[in-house]
């Protein structure tokens, strides 16, 4: 059994009286693809926001590689080895595709103002490293050809792939994907699935939120099911599929909607 790399203990977020995330315990093992599913409003994105420090934790703890990182400021999350994508794509729209990825290398380079002005050896080394690695990453996600286009001009599906490339640029041990296949057609979806497998095969741990059941069942080693902020089930896809609580949560939701 591999080690647990990301763990939450009784993690909770309350907005006033609303318990968006309620005492969730979850352990993500290194090298796995871990899915998080649940009906709309189950607290999945809030859960991600708690992991990455974007919102304040009400109670509980987040542990990364055994170290307590609860309440870490979001800008330090990338530095410790965790990176994410966003449900509503958040690219740097008026930057080129390559520059988007280059920004991802921020924590891995050190050039200061003076170096940038005089273009000293350290600066040039940094820039070469960033450009080469950036293009390689774009190759990896299949965007090399569009490296010098504006991110804003990419199609929807392509933007999602760019966001993944940008997140990878921080060299994360754990990659958090928030609905990476949302709004995609079936062929794009299978491409993304392929991409996620490829990332996983390189030894990175992946936590993925997704609505598409088929995708998540095919992809994940372990699935956590959230409903109304509570964890109602955790297990392999087969276990989750047959869990009565999960079925009722989803059916109930379907009936409600």
């Amino acid at each position: 059994m591999s080690d647990v790399i990301l763990e939450t203990r009784a993690l909770s977020k309350h907005f006033g009286g609303l318990k968006a995330v309620d005492s969730v315990d979850m352990s993500v093992r290194e090298g796995t693809i871990h899915g998080i599913i649940g009906p709309n409003g189950a607290g999945k994105t809030t859960f991600f926001n708690l992991l990455t420090g974007l919102i304040e934790v009400t109670r509980g703890a987040v542990l990364f590689g055994g170290r307590d990182i609860t309440g870490i400021p979001p800008e330090r999350v990338a530095g410790i080895g965790m990176s994410r994508t966003f449900q509503n794509i958040k690219l740097f729209r008026f930057m080129t595709v390559l520059d988007n990825v280059k920004v991802g290398f921020h924590t891995r380079t050190k050039t200061g103002l003076l170096g940038a002005v005089v273009r000293n050896a350290a600066f040039r080394a940094d820039e070469t490293f960033v450009a080469e690695q950036g293009l390689e990453l774009l190759d990896f996600v299949g965007l090399r050809k569009q490296a010098y286009n504006l991110a804003a001009n990419l199609s929807y599906g392509t933007q999602r792939r760019l966001e993944i490339a940008r997140a990878l640029a921080t060299d994360p041990k754990v990659l958090l994907l928030d609905e990476p296949a949302a709004g995609m057609n079936p062929s794009e979806k299978s491409e993304v699935m392929e991409l996620i497998r490829k990332i996983s095969s390189l030894g990175r741990t992946i936590v993925v939120i997704e609505h598409d059941m088929k995708l998540i069942m095919n992809l994940c080693d372990v699935i956590t099911v959230l409903n109304q902020g509570l964890k109602i089930c955790e297990g392999t896809p087969a276990e989750v599929r047959n869990d009565p609580d999960v079925i009722s949560a989803y059916l109930g939701h379907a009936r409600g909607a």
């Binding site: 974007l54 800008e75 008026f94 930057m95 520059d99 050039t111």
Partner: protein
Amino acid sequence: MKALVRMVQRHGTLSMLCAAGVLLAVPFLIRGNDYLLRIAINILLYSVLATSLNMINGYSGQFNIGQAGFYCIGAYTAAILATRYGVGFWLALPASGLIAALSSVLLGIPTARLRGIFLAICTLGFSEIVRLTILNWIEFTRGPMGIPGIPFPTFFGYEISSNFGFYFLILTIAAVTLFVCHRVLNSRIGRAWIAIREDELAAKSMGIPTTRYKIYNLAFGTFWAGAAGCFYAYLSSYVSADSFTLDEGFAILCMVLVGGPGSLIGPLVGAFFLVVLPEMFRFLAEYRLVIFGLAILVTMHVRPQGIAGGGVFAAIAPDSEEPAGKGAAS
């Protein structure tokens, strides 16, 4: 227009040389005409000021409307250093920039972490406070009397005392400003600023300490305004708080907005137009600021990205491996 832009991009170095040639030739062509030389100096001076503001508003997306305050701090720093401590121009120049940058850090610490709008109002207030402080702190600044008698700058023993000389001085300052800005924008730091402008939350998630970088950006931008202030002090040999009202700040802002924020060339175009326009219609001199205000409104309604901003200038890129222009910073 598009063809011209293409050409400029394809032959970058050549066009730069052409521009440099023209800028160097201009003073010789109008040497005897002090009026025209003064206009040329003003265009360059406002180019530096507009570029300094563009670094902030155009690239990190912070909204500073009180650049005149930092300009003023630079001018007074130079004036006080020169008249009271006998500091020469070449030392006063970076000192003025640094003092302006330092004061922007003091302003940025409480405001940069808040929503952009706070910075906007606080810079406005700050600019006004700088002016009021200078008017009231008479022992230090001579208040409403201003500081006269700033000596001429010297360059290796030569005294720069004519408009002809001042033209080359400000041309050098402008060139250095643009060069440094261009280099910084095309580095990790510049990319971080643009990322913050585009999406602060995503920038944070990429590991950029956004508050620190916003303050950093503020300091970088205001540094050049401070340096411009130093030049202004030496140019007019007299400084007074009246030259640095909020209107002056709006004029600089207007140049950036009309010229095109977020492009290096935009503020230059804006400075050119908004210095030349009131001169061409001298009977409208009184209406200078009305024209500026209207220019902002017309720009927002007709071409919100500014004359030289966005569109063909900011980001044209063919589907190829060749970087077009200078990426985001061109």
